[in-house]
Point group: C2
Chain length 437, copies 2
Amino acid sequence: MLITPSINGTRMLGRLDTFAEIGATADGGVDRQSLTEGDRRARAAITEIALSRGFTVAQDAAANLFIHRRGGHAGTPPLLIGSHLDTQPTGGRFDGALGVLAALEVLESLEDGNIQTAAPIELVVWTNEEGCRFAPGSMGAQAFIDGTLSDTLLASRSTDGLRLADELAATREALPQAHLCTLGKPIAGYIELHIEQAPHLERAGIPIGVVTGVQGTRWLKVSVKGEAGHAGTTPLSARRDPMRAANMGLARLYETIMQTDTDARFTVGRMTVEPGSVNAIPSTVVFYIDIRHPRLKELDAIEAEITVTLHDAATGAGCTIAIERVFDMEPARFDNTLINAIEDVAKARGVASTRMVSGAFHDALFISRVAPTAMIFVPCRDGISHNPREFVDPEFCIIGADILFHTALSVSEMPLAEGNPTIRTTAISNNHKGVGT
Amino acid sequence: MLITPSINGTRMLGRLDTFAEIGATADGGVDRQSLTEGDRRARAAITEIALSRGFTVAQDAAANLFIHRRGGHAGTPPLLIGSHLDTQPTGGRFDGALGVLAALEVLESLEDGNIQTAAPIELVVWTNEEGCRFAPGSMGAQAFIDGTLSDTLLASRSTDGLRLADELAATREALPQAHLCTLGKPIAGYIELHIEQAPHLERAGIPIGVVTGVQGTRWLKVSVKGEAGHAGTTPLSARRDPMRAANMGLARLYETIMQTDTDARFTVGRMTVEPGSVNAIPSTVVFYIDIRHPRLKELDAIEAEITVTLHDAATGAGCTIAIERVFDMEPARFDNTLINAIEDVAKARGVASTRMVSGAFHDALFISRVAPTAMIFVPCRDGISHNPREFVDPEFCIIGADILFHTALSVSEMPLAEGNPTIRTTAISNNHKGVGT
């Protein structure tokens, strides 16, 4: 072990094992989708522990769960630490759960050490980060910053056909020990520990990533229309082949965007070809492009390059093209005070750290819009997540919890709340609907 | 009208209208898929006309329908003329039906003119040319040359879940006027009139295509496997992206194959991307390539180029690739005597003609393996078929039937049968299963 941790590592690893049993799948993964019976069991389990330690437990209309440990200064907004307990259907044991159970460990270790913090420290379990059963992802964090859940959202249905409003109500009612609190409230800040979901830390041999922000993401829906025709009889001169247009355009983009800028991400993960006959020139090809970049200017430039290249390719093949921006998330920049605090703690604890930008969305991305926010990453094996093979070395779990502990302790003494914006009264633009992470 | 036809054009156009009503769709098309109630009504309608003219009607185990007009030389194998009456679900009025009703018109005009031919002339309606309800296409013609229907085929089910054996039996039983004949028999030759299904004749302003053969076709199933990953977090160096591999490889092939050889056809009409999430690098991309060429050597060369190019692209993207030849139809060459006969007739009738290779499969492709065979094409508007918009100028219908009439008359006097191979006793390779035309 690199450090002698200030938290009870054995207890936390035991909790990780216990919670991995809730929704465990035969292949060693976890299927604990949001607002399911498994999710409710996980909520009940953490609530039971919290109450046994004398913490107070509350939940809001979005079923975000708050476990409060009293601070020294009455009336001070709490410092939130936490993550999410829901998983993908083919999820692993650490994505979300590590951040929640490390935060629980922080509260318990403070309690064990009888340590009085200035600001209260509060564990938050955000509802539906994954967005796979109900869309969008980070639903609870978004509702928290918006202070509301729209009627449209409440009427929306899960992949298994149930209304969000009903599933939220059933989840809240399954936890009568938690009193109901308002949706959205002043907080001093938010710190989230999470697995990296990428191979950078592991490759660099560095146990702690200090996350400076989240890269921007856009999704483009591209529809190329040509004309169906007989594969055997139609000469090239008579073809208006959208598959040809799509391939020629995409090949040029694959050759440029990520080759020339290592910060850029360019992914085509979905494509449908109509009518889909082996021996028919397609009439329509629809595909989605996911582009990401830490800087807005470059994101704009990438989108412009895509637009020009694909229009050229479509025109060259006698096709028409429509490109629609179906999702747009600007790059987020985390709070410098918190970033420095994490870095200082890592240094003081003798743990190597590196600054990095998150490629994935997180609840922290949303919370950063209303309060000082930062994230701590730990390495996961081969960068794999959303997969039963997801794995984090126990040592890194403990180091991450230790860094979270000392950062929370340090930050709880800072006058963050003075610069803390109040909860926004206007809603964030709604263009982040339907999004996974 | 370019010519004074030797057949009754008005009667034939009336028949085209009548048969277009059988399975007519609201959009002006025809949905008369093989062995359906519509197909049976069409068979009954043509049988009724045939019997009223004193022709004999037979059907074989594959429900191929034969309408026989006696020839002068007893025991001479018949010259077959005909096509198919089944359509695609979104079919038109001419694909298949023109060849059958023109052949009927030939028989009736011979009868009207009290013309005695040396060889009997026999109209054939092949079962299930389209292959859309039951696979493969040209099922009846294949069974005819094989002399058998395999148990596997008989047990296969239609897209609407019915067994082929049952649907064949019901179709045969719906036509008790037709006596049962053996599956496969000696024939003097086969001539099929069909719409071109391509724009060449129309563009050239030539009413008659003398088809010298059918280009070869291969279908390649290409499976590219990489590794699923997070679109936001995975850097290029860690990606094994099968979509990138597929696009880069296909773009190179789109740029070369058809650009450098106007006889070549290269089509990608089907692609599936797994898992198909917008924000996930795919794990697997599977697509099908349809390649065609009139010459076997070039078909081989194209397949070799595809194999090398796609393997390079896959390797370059860290992916594995499997390329499987799922269908292989060698180029077919029609009979020179028949080709010359059609050409001579067109010249004698003062009708412009041009030799051409068929891009599409036809029943004639299979019959050419066992007997002298040729095809006559007439232009269709914009080259469109398998579509309610399919249209043939009535004048071209009449010219086509007239050329078929004179060719059949001419050929029936030729000693074709002497060079006629007997029906093969070994089955054709079964790699033409599951094929449409």
